[in-house]
Symmetry: C2
Subunit: 415 residues, 2 copies
């Protein structure tokens, strides 16, 4: 806020700018970078020659860019050998780790099932540590230093992204994953909410559509949200925030998994749809495990004939619609992506959702609000984590480029 800008900040920021331009475009020339950053050619030339000599960027003669007259543009690309990062995804009964090079290509990956809900605390932590260790020891890492680990988890994380506070995947709470992994491996770690990482991934995957303001909603057992405002991930001010699923739809309404009543999730989460489709009382204790096949059967039944199944999806749509309407009243409409396996049933949800949203203040232009479905949540999740880790390296480590920092990076470990 009040802190002045010093002379060295200038170089740091402009280095970051150059790196980010290359990361966004995959391959760019110095001329293009000069154009988008509105810095002079001389400056870009100086910075990129520094970055190349530091082994962060590399010239790649692979250009299909300029078939014009004149000296052809030299493509700049990220140097894959500059570093590697790791992503870890921990979700219900599932653990995966991926090692990626600095250019974002997958170097090694591993995933397997495990019974997260029944595991003792120490075993859960142990499995995470073990999978990280195996990936760190993977020969394909080829001696490249690991500069960042990002762990994505369903549930609530703390604001500095260092701990899981609560998660539906385990009864255990307050697990300081970042501290644990940093102590073990001396690599900087953050713990991120899964929906936030999906939003990050959407932004990289389709920057045209998901530019400065958009919403990713995870339709799953529970309801999650990732929110990007003004081009930045909005993570609440203290904890992870963005608990869209626990906005109140009907005061004193249906029983939610969180113990409260009337949350959106208590109408739109898988367990809520299940409960309504089975004509159970809306105060019935939420069921824990509903197989994907069961949900698909429910959706098929709803498509097939009018009945409690169809009504259950209608109620889900209504809850989501009023919730989005309230959200839009606060932040103005934005594109929405419906993510997750249950997004495949969005056709059943959408009519009631649009009908509800049109009756709210946020629904001014309800017909112009666009919904997109992305059934493959795991792919998004991994992609988002990868970009989160890589941009951290870009902005926090390589942009600084001060000798101490680089020295540290050159050793294979960080304090």
């Amino acid at each position: 806020m009040t802190v002045g800008i010093r002379h060295d900040d200038l170089r740091r920021r402009n280095r970051a700018m150059v790196i980010s331009a290359v990361r966004r475009n995959g391959q760019t020339s110095r001329t293009e970078i000069a154009a988008v950053t509105s810095l002079s050619h001389s400056t870009i030339s100086a910075i990129s020659s520094d970055l190349i000599s530091e082994g962060i960027l590399a010239e790649a003669r692979h250009e299909q860019l300029a078939l014009k007259r004149g000296r052809p543009q030299v493509a700049l690309a990220l140097e894959p050998k500059a570093a590697v990062v790791m992503t870890v995804v921990l979700s219900l009964n599932f653990l995966a780790a991926t090692l990626l090079d600095y250019a974002g290509e997958i170097v090694a990956e591993e995933q397997h099932r495990l019974d997260t809900r029944a595991m003792p605390r120490e075993d859960l932590i142990g499995e995470c540590v073990a999978i990280v260790r195996r990936k760190l020891d993977d020969p394909r890492r080829d001696g490249r230093r690991v500069l960042r680990i990002v762990l994505a988890i369903q549930g609530i994380t703390d604001a500095p992204a260092r701990a899981m506070l609560w998660s539906p995947i385990t009864p255990h709470t307050d697990i300081a994953f970042a501290d644990i992994l940093e102590r073990e491996f001396s690599v900087p770690v953050t713990v991120e909410n899964d929906c936030n990482m999906m939003a990050v991934a959407l932004r990289w995957r389709d920057p045209e559509r998901y530019r400065n303001d958009f919403i990713a909603i995870l339709l799953s057992h529970g309801i999650g949200m990732g929110l990007v405002l003004k081009g930045e991930l909005f993570t609440g001010t203290h904890s992870s925030g963005g608990e869209f699923g626990h906005m109140i739809h009907r005061p004193d309404g249906a029983l939610c998994r969180c113990g409260r009543r009337g949350c959106i999730e208590a109408y739109a989460g898988n367990y809520a749809i299940w409960r309504n489709a089975r004509r159970m009382d809306e105060n019935a204790e939420p069921v824990d495990d509903i197989g994907e096949a069961d949900m698909r059967a429910l959706a098929d039944a709803a498509r097939d004939h009018d009945g409690p199944e169809r009504e259950a999806y209608r109620k889900a749509g209504e809850a989501l619609g009023f919730g989005l309407g309230s959200l839009f009243a606060l932040i103005d409409p934005a594109p929405v992506a419906m993510v997750g396996a249950s997004a495949a049933a969005f056709d059943l949800i959408e009519p009631a959702l649009r009908e509800a949203i049109a009756r709210t203040a946020g629904g001014h232009h309800s017909t112009s609000i666009s919904f997109d479905t992305e059934p493959d949540e795991l792919a998004l999740l991994r992609g988002g984590c990868a970009m989160r880790a890589l941009t951290f390296v870009d902005n926090e480590i390589f942009a600084a480029g001060n000798p101490a920092q680089m020295e540290l990076a050159a050793g294979h470990e960080m304090a």
Copy 2:
């Protein structure tokens, strides 16, 4: 976003930093500025001597600061003669304009009643133009150039802050006040939402309490909100946003002034409290005019005995509580200021509000959420507009300090 930082930006930002340090503290020394900005003493010295020679700052020997040994600190203060700004407040049946010097002292002001709801469009605009003209012609302006006009208005404004789109104070819509006034007076103008300006004022009035994240809620005929997140006014992404009063409290519930059903305002606005206290149907058409005395009588009745009046305030509290709970689920709790004449009845609202918020996901620490009441909304409104106008001059005009810009400022008008 992607734009690089050039050499002159650096000076501009550091100049802005110095000016803002002086504006915040009223009087500061160079040493203090160096401390808070973490810039070197030489830099601060150079910048402040520039600012003094440009007539933006002035040395004021008025120090009660350092009674220590050593050379006494020289106080720096804003030079009142550097410029003047104007604020215009247009609310229900009321119009006011204030001229302030660069240090924020009131130079001239004027206010009067007028029947905004019955006035033809041209008359409403005409009154605003006339009051601005009278203040511009005020001899107390003393030749100082007017560098900014901020007009605050109840209702919805567009995002670039140039037009009033809709307002409860007049049947007319889409009045491009900024363009109209700029054409007339050649001074840059913005049109701001009243609740947003109140939030701005709170931040300046009590920076300890209202720092980076807080909420100002206007309890009045309608319900408005100003939201500050991460130290910045959050104004939605397209239009003015922040329509807290029109979040949905009960789907298909009570009739709101906006024509929809179940909005928070339809339970907590003055007309809603009135409607409930009179045991009218909750779908009864909202009453337009309720005098302040009538509302006070209602509140007194509610304090005196249990009955429909007390129940009406309870319902208002419940609606506000669930609404805040949903809001807090999204953005995490923050201090709340209840602003406006009706905030004087907050004692009647608070119990039900707290009870409701405790039943929401955002109410984790409901007891620690603090509410503050600020009955004098007009004072806040004026103060907020003044700071908005002055900081614009600070950051957009004086921070740049380039010859062209300064030349422009020296002439008494801007293009």
